[in-house]
């Protein structure tokens, strides 16, 4: 606290003690200069103002300060302090209606509903006494919002509305109360209010319908019909009026009248499924079970489409119950079961439907249901047998058709094959497709493409290759060069050494030449425009297709030279043999050799830049052979490791095989060879390599667990479970905690 503030406070206290209130107030007001929103100071000034010698002005001033203080307390979150200040105001001036309302708001915010109601009621009464009806109504609304169940207040509000000539507001309020009464089952009170409404507004549709409903519920059907007709006359499309009449007619068994009106109602509100439900009830009452079942089916389907499976099930069952032979009901039930995942029901209903369709000659549908059952239960014998029966007959039928008419639509067979593929029945799919190309359409492209892909999937590469050739032959007269090119590439991939593809390969290269010419033109264009990067990029694309394209190589070299700014040769060719001198001397000796040369010295573009990876590797390998002698076992071993890490397993094996000759690395190299063969999936070779390692003299106890464990794994991978168990048992006998050997032994024992 600053000394200035302390002085003011001290002075204010002195004035207060001496009874010099006004002077004290002046001192306190000084403090407000710096902190005008200090609610405590404002409150104190309010208190002092009350004590001041001029009572009238004092009270007015006090209230003014209190209100400011309370407002600040409210906005600062000090509700209790604010309430205390408001109460002080009410002590000074008990007729301050606005303060009661503020108090009510605060109590309401704090959840003190009783206090809030009391405050609001006081305020409302005071407003009413003063004839300020609008304000009184606002407060009554607040009370009603506090406790919607306080119907007396609401009625009072409605009465005030009427008094004030606000008829619509009054009716709205009465309606709210009447509804509340209905919820509380106070039917008489509700009816009285509706009748009251009709007194003020005789054509009030809602009140007429509601009274009609109450009459109907009480069993006064004729009266209900009267109210219904009255309502219908007022609004012929009112769903409430129509519903009242329909229900009244049903109750008096006037089903035809009810049906007519209900049909109208459904036309007006087709989404209201409850109306359809009523229609079904009427149809049942009239003995039209089939009609009713169809209506239930529509409702069930609607619910199914809206994913309300529970309700869909109810209506599908209702439909089936009153019309057991209604097939769509069974189909809908099957769909609902499938979506709910009720396996037993799916199988039961699926078999029912499949048999039904089979018996009625609808084989495709029967087949569809058998397949759906198999999707749920792949081992279902009944479905499998049914499917085979259907498929067999289908083939026979098709044969007959082919025989009789010489032509057949194979789209069904293609679709069947697709279904088989979808469910993993690849052999069946192949048979179906083979049937198409053998019996119906030998050149059916879709069938051949599917067959090709199936053969590839089933590992029948020769057949896949044959299909590629067949497709090429089919595409040739159709002038489909792109497709043919793709097929040639696929055929090469499937069977690269088959001589039959040679002719096509040559054609591919010729075709590529056409593309090259286009690309070359593009590259030349860029070159002429000085767009060197773009030109190089296009030439590189050419090289990606034809790595020996001379023009591309030549032009790239030329363009690179034009563009090149860094051409410093970095190192000299490394000599194959190490220098015999010590490393420091060697460094000194090579000092000049590794010296950087000046910048901007042009370097020629190398031809190797555009070689394929295989060519680079070949060249690299030649360099290695020139640099390393076969006796350099350690370097070959290191190279083996390098290749292995690069995923070049075959190349790694070659290096390890060289290093294996050197006794120090015999064991390690054998082990690495085994790991490489394992990566290549050649487990038998891998086993052989490890057995070699075990037989070596370097094989020691220290290493044998690692090697034996690996050997056991390889036996397992090679499917030699007994050998695996034998080896793992040896490892286990030595150290049962070694890796997961105990688990492996256990699993193998169980398996064997």
């Amino acid at each position: 606290m600053s000394s200035e503030k302390s002085k003011i406070l001290e002075s204010a206290q002195q004035f207060t003690i001496r009874g010099q209130i006004n002077k004290a107030i002046e001192e306190w007001k000084k403090l407000l200069t710096d902190t005008p929103n200090d609610a405590n100071i404002l409150n104190t000034i309010g208190d002092l103002s009350l004590k001041s010698q001029s009572p009238g002005n004092g009270s007015r001033d006090a209230i003014s300060y209190y209100i400011k203080a309370a407002d600040i307390f409210v906005s600062s979150g000090f509700a209790l302090k604010a309430i205390a200040v408001y109460k002080k105001i009410l002590k000074v001036e008990p007729s301050r209606k606005d303060i009661y309302v503020r108090l009510g708001d605060l109590n309401c915010d704090r959840g003190l509903i009783g206090n809030a109601r009391e405050d609001y009621l006081t305020a409302a009464k005071l407003y009413s006494q003063d004839g300020r009806i609008k304000e009184a109504l606002e407060v009554y609304r607040k009370i009603a919002d506090l406790d919607p169940s306080n119907l007396n207040v609401r009625i009072k509000i409605a009465e005030i509305f009427f008094k004030e000539g606000l008829k619509e507001d009054a009716i709205e309020e009465y309606n709210k109360v009447a509804l509340a009464y209905l919820k509380e089952a106070k039917r008489d009170e509700a009816e009285n209010l509706y009748r009251l409404i009709l007194k003020f507004e005789p054509n009030n549709l809602n009140a007429i319908v509601k009274i009609g409903r109450l009459r109907l519920d009480d069993g006064y059907v004729d009266e209900a019909i009267g109210y219904g007709k009255m309502a219908f006359d007022l609004s012929k499309e009112s769903p409430d009026a129509l519903s009242l009449l329909v229900d009244s007619y049903i109750k008096s068994k006037m089903y035809d009248d009810a049906e007519t009106l209900l049909t109208k109602l459904i036309e007006l509100h087709p989404d209201q499924l409850s109306h359809r439900d009523t229609l079904a009830t009427i149809l049942v009452a009239k003995g039209n079970n089939e009609g009713a079942a169809n209506v239930y089916l529509v409702i069930g389907t609607e619910y199914f489409n809206h994913n309300d499976l529970d309700k869909s099930l109810i209506y599908a069952e209702k439909a089936k119950e009153i019309s057991p032979d209604l097939l769509p009901a069974h189909e809908l039930l099957f769909e609902v079961y499938s979506n709910r995942g009720n396996k037993d029901d799916i199988l039961g209903k699926g078999l029912y439907l499949a048999k039904y369709f089979y018996d009625t000659g609808e084989k495709e549908k029967a087949k569809g249901y058998y397949l759906k059952i198999l999707e749920e239960d792949p081992f279902n014998v009944e479905a499998k047998e049914g499917l085979e029966k259907v498929s067999g007959e289908e083939t026979k039928y098709k044969e007959e058709i082919v025989k009789e008419e010489g032509v057949i639509d194979v789209s069904g067979q293609i679709a069947s094959a697709e279904v088989y593929i979808k469910y993993g029945l690849l052999e069946k799919a192949i048979l179906e497709l083979q049937d198409i190309v053998k019996r119906s359409e030998p050149d059916n492209i879709e069938a051949h493409v599917k067959l090709k892909n199936l053969y590839k999937n089933t590992g029948e590469q020769d057949k896949a290759f044959e299909e590629c050739l067949k497709l090429i032959r089919i595409y040739e007269p159709l002038d489909e060069p792109d497709k043919i090119e793709l097929l040639i590439r696929e055929a090469i991939e499937v069977s690269p050494y088959d001589s039959r593809i040679k002719e096509y390969k040559e054609r591919l290269i010729k075709r590529s030449q056409v593309d090259f010419n286009e690309l070359l033109e593009e590259a030349r264009f860029y070159e002429q425009q000085g767009m060197i990067e773009e030109a190089i990029s296009v030439y590189n694309r050419i090289l990606s297709i034809d790595s020996v394209n001379e023009e591309a190589i030549r032009e790239i070299a030329k363009l690179k030279r034009l563009k090149s700014v860094d051409t410093i040769p970095e190192v000299e060719l490394v000599k194959p043999e190490e220098s015999p001198v010590s490393f420091f001397d060697l460094g000194e000796a090579l000092k000049e050799e590794v010296k950087e040369k000046p910048v901007y010295e042009p370097a020629p573009m190398e031809i190797s830049a555009v070689k394929s990876f295989e060519e680079i590797f070949q060249e690299f390998n030649k360099g290695i052979q020139a640099q390393l002698s076969p006796e350099d076992y350690e370097t070959h071993y290191d190279l083996g490791i390098a290749y292995k890490e690069m995923g070049l397993f075959q190349e790694a094996v070659e290096e390890f095989k060289i290093s294996i000759q050197g006794t120090p690395r015999y064991m390690d190299a054998s082990y690495m060879i085994a790991l490489c063969y394992k990566e290549l999936g050649e487990y038998h070779e891998a086993v052989k390599a490890l057995e070699g390692a075990i037989s070596s003299q370097q094989y020691s106890d220290q290493r044998h667990l690692v090697v034996k464990y690996e050997l056991g794994s390889l036996f397992e991978l090679a499917g030699k479970k007994e050998d695996a168990l034998h080896v793992f048992t040896e490892v286990h006998d030595t150290d049962e905690t070694y890796r997961d050997v105990s688990e492996r032994v256990l699993n193998l024992q169980k398996g064997i």
């Binding site: 970095e570 420091f584 060249e619 390393l628």
Partner: protein, 198 residues
């Protein structure tokens, strides 16, 4: 990832020298080879083309002692810098443990440096390796040449991760071992974190 050979009790770690063509990667490896005790190094495998570019890769194994009873062996590789050796670079990066990115400090080589850095990032991503979490050291080589770019600018262009960077004149050995030590230290730290040895 480091290859732990339990049978021979060896750990092989892979350091790759990456960077644009002719930035000095092979010079680094050669300097390391020439200045390392013969007992601690294997043979340098380096095949150069007629125009002095690296063919496929340079390769130098060096031994750094033992770690928890395992012989610690570092395999140093360089990649061919020229853009058309993409396949080789991808292969060499397989299983990488640490990277030394050698940048050419000459102003006119900045595009090539950035292109190579981008290429490194992409090739690592292809292997599901995040460059931001891989041991990495930057070497700004050829600092003795005229028209070189100041270090802050080079950092701004290449060193977004703010790793250690070393100025070097690889032909004279300046900065060569410092860079290698840095990346080796990072790799060993990662190795210790990743593997419980013994």
């Amino acid at each position: 990832m480091s290859f732990i050979h339990y049978s021979s009790r060896e750990i092989n770690c892979k350091i790759v020298y990456y960077g644009p063509g002719l930035c000095g990667k092979t010079t680094n490896i050669r300097y390391i080879y020439n200045n390392t005790n013969p007992e601690s190094k294997g043979k340098l495998v380096s095949i150069a083309t007629e125009t002095e570019h690296t063919l496929f890769f340079d390769f130098l194994p060096i031994f750094l002692g033992t770690l928890n009873g395992f012989k610690l062996k570092f395999h140093l590789y360089t990649v061919p810098g020229q853009i058309f050796y993409e396949a080789s670079r991808k292969l060499i990066l397989k299983g990488v443990d640490g990277i030394v990115f050698v940048a050419d400090s000459q102003v006119e080589r900045m595009d090539a440096n950035m292109e190579s850095m981008d290429n490194l990032r992409r090739n690592l991503t292809d292997q599901d390796i995040d460059i931001n979490y891989t041991p990495l050291a930057l070497q700004y080589n050829k600092r003795d040449l005229p028209n070189i770019m100041p270090i802050p600018e080079m950092n701004g262009l290449l060193n977004t991760r703010e790793v250690s960077q070393y100025e070097s004149i690889a032909s004279k050995g300046e900065g060569v071992f410092e860079t290698l030590k840095d990346v080796t230290r990072q790799v060993i730290s990662e190795l210790k974190k990743a593997v419980q040895l013994g």
